[in-house]
Amino acid sequence: MALKGLDIFKLTPKTNCKQCGVPTCMAFSMKVAQGSLPLEKCPFITDDVKDQLSEATAPPMKTLKLGEHTLGGETVLERHEKTFVSKTLYAMKVSTANDDAANDALLEKVPKVDYDRIGERMYCEFVFVEGTEGENARFLDLVKKAAALDRDLILATSDADLAKEALAAASGKNVILAGANASNYEAMSGAATAANALLGVSGESLEELHDTVAALEKLGNKNLVLVTTGKNAKEAFRNTVEVRRGAIKGSDRTFGYPSLVDVAALSGGDPHMEAAYASLFTAKYGSIVVLTEMDYAKALPLYGLRQNIFTDPQKPMKVDPGIYPLNGADENSICMVTVDFALTYFIVSGEIERSGIPVNLLISDAGGYSVLTAWAAGKFSASSIAKFIEEYQVEEKIKNRVLVLPGKVAVLKGEVQEKLPNWKVVVGTNEAVEIIRFLKDFQY
């Protein structure tokens, strides 16, 4: 059970010394209870008390670090309640069930998808290496090949001795060893802990998974990932939801670990089914989603979806301010100005691109707000537009002197014209959907 602020307050010195950076001990206690400050900020809390409290103040779901990635740490079931914190990560799967040529071809494709979308690097974070029975030598060989790529690894085998060899072959890499179950967990846990790897645990049923996790925790291993794949899609969905919901709503810390769903195993090699399930588990509680292949056709929608879902509702998504030449725009093309709110940028640039007409889209720094909000907040004004034109040396870079304002800030026209006397300031459309028509009818 989570502790209330008052329970924590009783353990503080109640001197309001402010050394924690908060005006009063009461305020500090409230913040600790919310999880926004760590207990350690108070220099007077003794180790005894810390131990006593750490279990009770621990978040419902553990946050695990693996290299540069963070898994888990979620506190809500729906993003609007607060925010999701650890985005779904993706893995591409190679397996000793494939022939060598197929695996080589897949490994070659891993680095192909790697691009930037609104300041976020989009790439396949993991390679999932699966070892099937009786293929030990080929498995180790495959692990070595996968380890040569600049990606973290998930090694799937339930043979603890083989796991040790595989972990040795992948030394220096960030690894999740997936393959612990009710019968081998002790040996697997030893192998994973010795190699500093996270341990993936699965169970025949949710009850068995729960028992195995409890047993592993008793062994002192809390660096776990729960494999929720199950026998079919229905079971996978159920497991993944029950694990996350049990942790967050049911305060069951035994299920408070990140999940791993192998959608490649659920899709029978059909790339459209794989995309459907990957989407489902990105929306609902998959911490790691394993696919046979991440090509651009899957990556573009999935990474877009992920970026949206894991956006903090309190922080708007922003694009970098600057001059964006669209449809091959050059110095003779007109300029259209708008704000840096990512959604505005995507919709406006999309419509301009569909028109086929070359336009220099000027994205000004408006704090990531939409046009009207930014205008109301004084972040999108005649001065901010004029300042942008100056700072980004638009007049030096572009010869055309037509500047189109968003229709919603038509009131700015006079003032902008006054500040930019060399320009012909034009009021554009209220809605983005009208842009194509506007550009086509526009008299140059």
Binding site: T254, M273, A275, A297, P301, G304, L305, V433
Partner: protein, 313 residues
């Protein structure tokens, strides 16, 4: 500590909502759990899929869609082909040509087209209005009359034009009404309230709470749907218990990822496959967030999404 499961079976439920008539009538909604949470309580009516056809014809689409409809001479044949796609539950006919800023096709012609569509299918029909909000008032009035007795769903009534549509299509012709708002739970509820106040039964209303492509502000779609479902189920808000119908196709087939040719960005690979996956991913995420039905265009996307629904229910 042994495993104790947490259930989210609610006392309230989403309205059961039927379109079409006879054997092929389709019922959506009715559930008292979150999307696909069959482990909390059975979901009687699986989410449904509509195949979208346009009165501009299907020639401007990617080859996989275009070829599927190739040679269809009239809307009867278009509707027949759409109905034959495996996994399709209803036909969504988009009156794109009626747009006053586009082809501005006359109301009479549109009514004729709708009649042709009805001849080509015995599946339920959803009519998607034009972009002309004002024009849809007369359009829906005449279409509702022409398709009288077919129990069609008219998408969409909005804040600006709901009065005429509710009075005519909803009350005079007893058709179903789609209430359209843009990713805002308060506006969605408000529209349901005012349409109900006109005398339209809540059970005759479906909602389009807004749609977007994955990557294009889709977080608003997710959060609006999740909040609507929570209000409907947890707080028993009967002005938000209408099922959600989401037109996905029109969003996804217009975004860059589905439109840019392979020549322009070679590393992205074939355009058609990108469009299909955009449609599949967006539709799946809509269903996971709360849509009771999605409207799609490509036969391959319909196949994948309908299979996912079957597997999960």
């Amino acid at each position: 500590m042994p495993l104790t499961k947490t259930s989210q079976k609610f006392n309230a439920s989403i309205n059961a909502f039927t379109i079409g008539t006879g054997d092929k009538a389709v019922t959506m909604g009715g559930e008292n759990v979150l999307p696909f949470y069959t482990f909390d309580a059975p979901i009687e009516n699986a989410p449904k899929i509509g195949a979208e056809i346009s009165d501009l014809g299907m020639d401007k689409n990617v080859p996989g869609i275009r070829d599927y409809y190739a040679g269809a001479e009239d809307f009867t044949e278009l509707a027949r082909r759409a109905s034959a796609i495996p996994g399709v539950d209803f036909i969504a006919f988009a009156l794109d040509a009626a747009d006053p800023n586009g082809e501005d096709r006359s109301v009479e012609e549109c009514v004729e087209e709708c009649k042709q569509v009805a001849e080509g299918t015995d599946l339920p029909i959803v009519i998607i209005g034009s972009k002309g909000i004002e024009k849809n008032e007369t359009l829906f009035d005449k279409v509702a009359d022409a398709l009288s007795g077919k129990n069609v769903l008219l998408m969409s009534a909005r804040e600006e034009n709901y009065k005429t549509i509710a009075a005519s299509a909803g009350l005079a012709y007893s058709q179903k009404i789609g209430a359209e708002s843009a990713v805002d739970i308060n506006l969605a509820k408000q529209l349901n309230v005012i349409i109900s106040q006109m005398g339209v039964k809540p059970q005759s209303i479906a909602m389009n709470v807004g749609a977007a492509s994955a990557g294009y502000g889709f977080e608003y779609v997710v959060s609006t749907m999740e909040r609507v479902k929570m209000a409907a189920l947890q707080q028993n808000d009967n002005m938000l218990q209408m099922p959600i119908v989401t037109p996905v196709a029109d969003e996804v087939w217009n975004v860059k990822e589905a439109v840019v040719s392979e020549e322009d960005i070679p590393e992205w690979g074939p355009q058609e496959e990108r469009g299909i996956q955009m449609e599949v991913v967006t539709a799946s995420a809509c269903l996971a967030s709360g849509s009771n039905a999605v409207i799609l265009r490509h036969p391959a996307s319909i196949a994948a999404v309908s299979k996912m629904i079957r597997e999960l229910i």
